[in-house]
Symmetry: C2
Subunit: 211 residues, 2 copies
Amino acid sequence: MSKLNWDYSLYLVTDRSYIGKRTLADCVKEAIKGGASLVQLREKTASSREFYELALQLKEITGAFSVPFIINDRLDIALAVDADGLHLGQDDLPIKIAREYFGKNKVIGISVSNVQEAIQAQEEGADYLGAGAIYATGTKLDADLVSLAELKKIKEAVSIPVVAIGGIKKENAASIMATGIDGISVVSAILAEDDIYTASKNLKTIVTAKK
Amino acid sequence: MSKLNWDYSLYLVTDRSYIGKRTLADCVKEAIKGGASLVQLREKTASSREFYELALQLKEITGAFSVPFIINDRLDIALAVDADGLHLGQDDLPIKIAREYFGKNKVIGISVSNVQEAIQAQEEGADYLGAGAIYATGTKLDADLVSLAELKKIKEAVSIPVVAIGGIKKENAASIMATGIDGISVVSAILAEDDIYTASKNLKTIVTAKK
């Protein structure tokens, strides 16, 4: 999958703690049908084998819908399933190492929480930025918060796509998109909903209207 | 470092929870001076960046003493620091995937707890086996226990080196070595000791006498 012209508008990040008895595969499929344009598998508690097996499942689903598939943190899992992208936080492997093994044709995204980190990540070869947390969330309680003014500055400081993450939901999505960023990244706003398809569709309508 | 003729006699596996205020680097250096012939960095709580940075430190120390350096579980960290080996548990990435990226000249060890797993791991290309847990330990409370009789059967069933792990200390090391295995793997029997050098040296004397 070419990394050019990816649609960053509605970026789903997984967290199995929100999905109850549903399977992650089914939830992701519904989210994509509703409009999720990127999917990141984020697993902080699974064994490597379980992470790998979940990644194989999601790779198949995202591939069927031609939606890019991104692995959080684990370069080895990204290599093992030939993912389209790898997302690295500030506490993950340095991008230089990841790029060496993952290759220049793959997407590497970096989490940033200020302009300085954003500029550095772009200089180090990031393909996109995940900026946040915009609001404190259950998924990342200890995250540094990024104001909408700072988010706008981050977007203006770089030429690569910027996606906002952290506590984004349909009530605040429009004002976040109004900063000029390329998309929103959500976890619970889609996965915690009973009707995932509709939740995804409603968010997609908001982010598309504002682009 | 050629993977031929490695000395599996005294295999140190790290766990920072035992070392108190000492640095892991210093502890590993003392253990090697005492006779540790292999070092595995095992990190279940560190971030990827911290794991990587610890791995860089230990790679330098082990390299200076020409002692092979092995990474637990994380193929990406093993690649990133050009470790000599990778140790995989039954819940980690499949050996086939690891071998594809890590290469045939590197060592891959597999954790096994019975003869069937041992034979399968050898067939899949393992370079050595870590058999255990011999006794329940603080490091792996939920591990399946392997009797000394089963350990002997595992050793007899394969042609690759077998190292025993789990609750091994100077009081039981001789009887474990008497099963014919190639070495013992220890965590707290070295790292929880005040005098790491002497603890390592005493264990080395026992395993060397029995070989």
